[in-house]
C-alpha cells in the first residue's frame, strides 16, 4: 500500500478559516435571553462550576469546541478525498492463468520469468478480499486447473509456491479457454493471463469475463535450435546431419554448436549469427551404429531449454521383404523403390513355410492371402488378409468408407494424409486385445450384422507391437481403392516397412516434444516400470492393460525406462520458434480485439471519505449529547 494521497488537496485550505470562524463564534457565544428571577441565590450555587469568565479558560475546558473542530476537520479532510492506492482486485472473481511454458524459464529478469509471473500472481492473490474468489490455471502444452475457484487465498499462494516451470510449448488458447470456463457465470470476473506472450495467436473469444494480460520478461536474448535431423541418403555411407539455428537477440551472437552421437563428440564448430537471423548447418558424419544424436549449443543466452536437440540415427531398415499374394503391381513397385530393400514374392505359404519365413525375412506382407500362422517373432503386414487374431479379426463389410481420423503421431502413419483416400469397400477390423486402431472410417454404412455400432466408426488400420513381434493390418484391398495412386502411398509403405523392420532392433528410441503423453507397450509379465528422468530423479509407473502411460516428459533431456528386459528411452527437445522468441509481448489480441494490459488495474484507489464523514457525524452526535448532558 502506498502513501496517502489527496484527490482535492485545495479543500484543506478551507480548514483554517472555518476553524477560525467556529472559534470566534464560540468566543462571541450566542446571545442569551435575559430572565429576571427572584434571586440568583440558589442559581449561584448551581452554576458556580459552569461559569467561566475568561475566553481562553472557556477554550481550555470546552470539549464541545474540540468535538466541533474534530467534526470540521473530518468533513474538510473528507472533502479533500484522501485515498491510498491499494492492491485491490477490480472484480470479485480472479482467474489467474499462468504461463509455465519453456520461455517462462528465461532468466532475463530476477529469478526467471516464471518467478516474476508468480510474484504478479501473488500480488493478485494477496489483494483478494474475503468475499473474492480466485482460481489458478497453469498453462504449458495444456491448461491445468491447479486451484479451482476458492475464497482461500492461502491455497492459491501455496499452489503458486509449488508451481514449477516446464519446457513445454505453450498452448495459451487452452489455458485461456479453461480460465474463461472457470470465470463463466461469475459476475465481475477477470481472467489474468500472466505470460511473456511467447505463444501462437489467440482466437477471438466471446465472454462476459474481462481478460487482462500481464506481461513478464524484459528482453529477447536467445539463440535456439529449431530443427535437427539426421538421415542417410540411399546408398550413401555417411549420414547427413541437418541443424537449423536462429538468433532471436537484437545483437550479433557467437556460439559453439557441438554434435554428439550418444555421448561421443563427433563435431563442433563456432557459429556466428546475425541479429534476428537464422542459419542452417549441415554435417556429413560417418555413423556406424544406430543411436541418439544430440546437438548442443553453447551460447550466452537467457533460455537453456532450446539449446539442445535430439535426432535419431535409425538402424538399418528392413532389407528383405517377402510379399505373399496373388500379385500386386502397385505394392511391388512401391516396395522396389525403397532403398536397400530386397523383395521376394510367393503366392502362398504353408504354416511351416510361414514360420520359416518369419525367421528369414525382416517383414512378411500378406496381400489378400490368409495368414497361415501367427508369428512368434518378426514382423507381418496384412493387407486385406486375416488369420492372425492377436492383430485383428475381420469384421463386417463397409461400403465406401472414408477415413476420418488417424494417429498422425504413429511412426507408420507419419506424413501420410488418408482423408481423401477413396475406398470402394473394406472390412471393419476388430483389433486384438493388445493391438491399437490407428485409423478409423467414420460415417461408414455397415452392411454386416453389427449395424448398431454407436460411433459409426470402423477401424481401418490396426497396429500390434510387442518386443519381438510387430504387425500392421489394412482393412481393405489396395486394388479397391485409389491409395496406390496417391503420393502418400510410398510414404505409408516406407514408414510401415521401417517401423515393422525395427522390431527387436535393440534399444527403442523416440524423439518427442515436451509435454507429450507417451504410451509404451509393456511385456505381459511387467507390472511396474521405472523412469529415470533427465535431472536424475526417478518416477514409478504402473502398467495398465499392457501399456505404460508417461505424461511427465516436461523437461528437455533423455528419459530412460526399463521395463522387462528391454531398456527404452526417449529424448525430449523443444524446437518451438514461439517459445524461443523471447521478445516479450507488450499487448495481446484475442482475434482482432485488443486485451487490456498491465498491473495498473490491480491497484485501486481506496477512498477514506465515508469513514471521515462517519467520524464527523459521530463527533457531532457526541457534541450534541454532551451539550444536553452538561446543560
Amino acid at each position: 500500500m502506498s502513501g496517502l494521497e489527496l484527490l482535492a488537496p485545495m479543500a484543506l485550505v478551507a480548514l483554517g478559516p472555518l476553524a477560525a470562524i467556529i472559534i470566534v463564534l464560540y468566543l462571541l457565544k450566542l446571545r442569551r435571553r435575559e430572565l429576571a428571577v427572584p434571586s440568583v441565590f440558589l442559581w449561584r450555587r448551581a452554576v458556580e462550576d459552569l461559569q467561566a469568565n475568561a475566553p481562553f479558560q472557556r477554550l481550555r475546558v470546552s470539549l464541545l469546541l474540540l468535538l466541533q473542530l474534530l467534526a470540521l476537520a473530518a468533513l474538510v479532510l473528507g472533502l479533500a478525498a484522501p485515498f491510498v492506492m491499494a492492491r485491490r482486485l477490480p472484480g470479485e472473481t480472479a482467474v489467474i492463468v499462468l504461463d509455465v511454458s519453456a520461455s517462462m524459464s528465461a532468466t532475463d529478469v530476477e529469478g526467471s520469468r516464471l518467478e516474476q509471473a508468480k510474484r504478479r500472481a501473488r500480488q493478485i492473490a494477496r489483494a483478494m478480499s474475503r468475499r473474492d474468489e480466485g482460481a489458478l490455471v497453469a498453462c504449458g502444452a495444456r491448461g491445468r486447473v491447479l486451484v479451482p475457484l476458492t475464497g482461500d487465498r492461502r491455497r492459491l499462494l501455496s499452489a503458486l509456491e509449488r508451481l514449477r516451470s516446464t519446457d513445454q510449448s505453450g498452448n495459451m488458447t487452452d489455458g485461456l479457454l479453461l480460465g474463461l470456463s472457470l470465470a463463466a457465470k461469475r459476475p465481475r470476473a477477470t481472467v489474468y493471463l500472466i505470460s511473456d506472450g511467447a505463444f501462437a495467436a489467440l482466437p477471438e473469444v466471446s465472454t462476459s469475463a474481462k481478460v487482462r494480460f500481464i506481461t513478464v520478461g524484459e528482453r529477447s536474448d536467445n539463440v535456439a535450435l529449431l530443427a535437427f535431423e539426421a538421415a542417410r541418403p540411399a546408398g550413401a555411407a555417411e549420414h547427413q546431419v541437418f541443424v537449423r539455428l536462429h538468433n532471436y537477440a537484437p545483437t550479433r551472437k557467437q556460439c559453439v554448436l557441438s554434435i554428439y552421437h550418444e555421448d561421443e563428440l563427433i563435431d563442433a564448430r563456432r557459429i556466428e549469427l546475425e541479429a534476428g537471423a537464422g542459419k542452417v548447418e549441415t554435417y556429413a558424419a560417418a555413423i556406424a551404429e544406430a543411436g541418439l544424436l544430440r546437438a548442443e549449443l553453447e551460447a550466452d543466452d537467457d533460455l537453456a531449454a532450446d539449446n539442445v536437440a535430439y535426432a535419431l540415427v535409425t538402424p538399418p531398415a528392413a532389407r528383405s521383404i517377402l510379399l505373399v499374394g496373388p500379385g500386386n503391381l502397385f505394392l511391388l513397385q512401391a516396395l522396389l523403390v525403397l532403398p536397400e530393400v530386397e523383395v521376394f514374392e510367393t503366392e502362398s505359404l504353408s504354416e511351416q513355410q510361414a514360420e520359416q519365413a518369419y525367421e528369414k525375412y525382416d517383414v512378411v506382407i500378406f496381400d489378400r492371402t490368409p495368414i497361415p500362422a501367427p508369428p512368434q517373432r518378426g514382423a507381418v503386414m496384412a493387407v486385406a488378409a486375416s488369420g492372425w487374431l492377436e492383430l485383428a479379426s475381420p469384421g463386417e463389410k463397409v461400403e465406401t468408407p472414408t477415413i476420418s481420423r488417424w494417429d498422425k503421431q504413429h511412426p507408420a502413419l507419419r506424413y501420410v494424409n488418408l482423408s481423401a483416400v477413396q475406398i470402394a469397400q473394406a472390412y471393419a477390423l476388430g483389433p486384438g486385445p493388445d493391438a491399437v486402431a490407428l485409423a478409423h472410417a467414420g460415417g461408414a454404412v455397415a452392411t454386416g450384422t453389427a449395424r448398431s455400432r454407436a460411433a459409426g466408426e470402423a477401424p481401418m488400420i490396426v497396429a500390434y507391437e510387442q518386443p519381438e513381434v510387430r504387425g500392421l493390418a489394412l482393412g481393405w484391398n489396395l486394388m479397391d481403392s485409389d491409395l496406390p495412386l496417391r503420393v502418400g502411398f510410398p510414404v505409408l509403405l516406407s514408414n510401415a516397412i521401417r517401423w515393422l523392420g525395427e522390431v527387436g532392433g535393440g534399444q527403442q528410441v523416440r524423439v518427442v516434444r515436451p509435454g507429450e503423453t507417451l504410451s509404451i507397450s509393456a511385456p505381459p509379465e511387467a507390472a511396474h516400470a521405472e523412469v529415470l528422468l533427465p535431472d536424475g530423479g526417478r518416477r514409478k509407473l504402473d502398467v495398465v492393460g499392457g501399456q505404460i502411460i508417461f505424461a511427465h516428459a516436461d523437461r528437455v533431456g533423455v528419459y530412460r525406462m526399463t521395463v522387462g528386459e528391454q531398456p527404452r528411452r526417449w529424448a525430449v527437445d523443444l524446437r518451438d520458434p514461439h517459445e524461443s522468441d523471447l521478445a516479450p509481448r507488450r499487448e495481446l489480441k484475442l482475434g482482432a480485439h485488443r486485451v487490456e494490459t498491465g498491473v495498473r488495474e490491480l491497484r485501486a484507489e481506496r477512498h477514506f471519505w465515508p469513514y471521515l464523514a462517519l467520524l464527523a457525524l459521530l463527533a457531532l452526535v457526541a457534541e450534541w449529547h454532551l451539550f444536553h448532558r452538561r446543560y
Binding site: 430572565l35 427572584p38 440568583v40 448551581a46
Partner: protein
C-alpha cells in the same frame, strides 16, 4: 382570674388560697389553683422585598393572604395582633388590633402594602426586636432567599416568645421549567448568571434547593421554632388550617 384546679397544701403556700369550705367538709387542706388569663401578642412579619413579587400568585400575594388569615385567627382568639412588613431600609408596622371588629382595618392595612427593595432579614429581625411591645408569637413569612437567612433566625431566637417560619416559594422557583440559553438577572441585586438550561443544570439546582431548604428547616428546629414550607400555588387555607394545626401552632 379563673379557677382551674385543686392541689394539696404544702407548708409555705399562700394561706389566702386555701379552700376553707373543703377543709370544713373533708378536714383536709386544699389549695385552690387559678389560671390567670393574659392578652397574647401575635406578630406577623411579612417579607416585602422584590424577590417576593414572583410567581402566580406571587409570593407576596400569598404572604398577604397568609398574614390576613393568621391575623384574623388571632383577632378571633381575642389576641393582640400586629402586622409588620419589612424590606431593606424600610419597615412598616400596623397598630395593634384587638377584637374581630378590627379585621377590616387590618385587611386594608395589608392591601396597601407593596413589595419593594431587597431582602434584609437580619435587619428586619433586629427592627422587630426593637419595636415589638411585648413578647408573643411571631410568624415570619418570607422566601428566605438571602445569604443572611441564618442570622435572621438566630436573632429572632432572642425574642421572648414563640416563632414560626413560613417559607414560601413560587412553583417556578421550586421546579424551574425554563430552558435555553439564559442570562438570569437577580430582581433585587441585579446580579447576573449566564447558563444554558439542561438536565444537568436543573439537577444541580434541585440539589442546591433541597440543601438550602434542609438547612433552613434544621436551623429552625435547632432554635425550637416551627417551620413550614409552602409553594404559592397551594391554597392558603390548606397551609394555615391543616399544616399549622398539625404543627400545633394554632389551636
Amino acid at each position: 382570674m379563673e379557677f382551674a384546679d385543686f392541689r394539696g397544701y404544702s407548708p409555705g403556700d399562700d394561706l389566702r388560697y386555701l379552700d376553707w369550705n373543703a377543709f370544713a367538709r373533708l378536714q383536709r387542706l386544699f389549695l385552690k389553683l387559678f389560671l390567670e388569663e393574659e392578652d397574647l401578642h401575635v406578630y406577623v412579619l411579612l417579607d416585602a422585598s422584590r424577590s417576593m413579587d414572583f410567581g402566580r400568585p406571587t409570593k407576596f400575594e400569598w404572604g398577604v393572604q397568609a398574614a390576613a388569615a393568621l391575623g384574623y385567627i388571632g383577632l378571633c382568639g381575642g389576641d393582640r395582633v400586629q402586622l409588620l412588613s419589612h424590606a431593606q431600609g424600610r419597615g412598616e408596622s400596623s397598630r395593634q388590633y384587638r377584637g374581630r371588629g378590627c379585621a377590616p382595618e387590618m385587611f386594608d392595612w395589608l392591601s396597601a402594602l407593596e413589595p419593594d427593595g431587597s431582602t434584609d432579614l437580619a435587619a428586619a429581625a433586629e427592627w422587630f426586636l426593637r419595636t415589638a411591645p411585648a413578647p408573643g408569637i411571631v410568624f415570619v413569612i418570607s422566601d428566605l432567599l438571602t445569604a443572611e437567612w441564618e442570622a435572621a433566625i438566630s436573632r429572632l431566637a432572642a425574642a421572648k416568645g414563640d416563632c414560626c417560619f413560613l417559607q414560601a416559594f413560587s412553583r417556578e422557583e421550586f421546579q424551574p421549567s425554563m430552558h435555553g440559553d439564559l442570562k438570569l438577572v437577580d430582581s433585587e441585586t441585579e446580579d447576573e448568571r449566564e447558563l444554558t438550561m439542561g438536565a444537568s443544570v436543573l439537577r444541580r439546582y434541585m440539589t442546591s434547593r433541597d440543601e438550602f431548604l434542609g438547612a433552613v428547616r434544621a436551623a429552625c428546629h435547632r432554635y425550637g421554632f416551627s417551620y413550614l414550607f409552602a409553594v404559592t400555588d397551594e391554597s392558603v387555607e390548606d397551609v394555615i388550617l391543616r399544616s399549622l394545626r398539625r404543627l400545633g401552632v394554632i389551636g
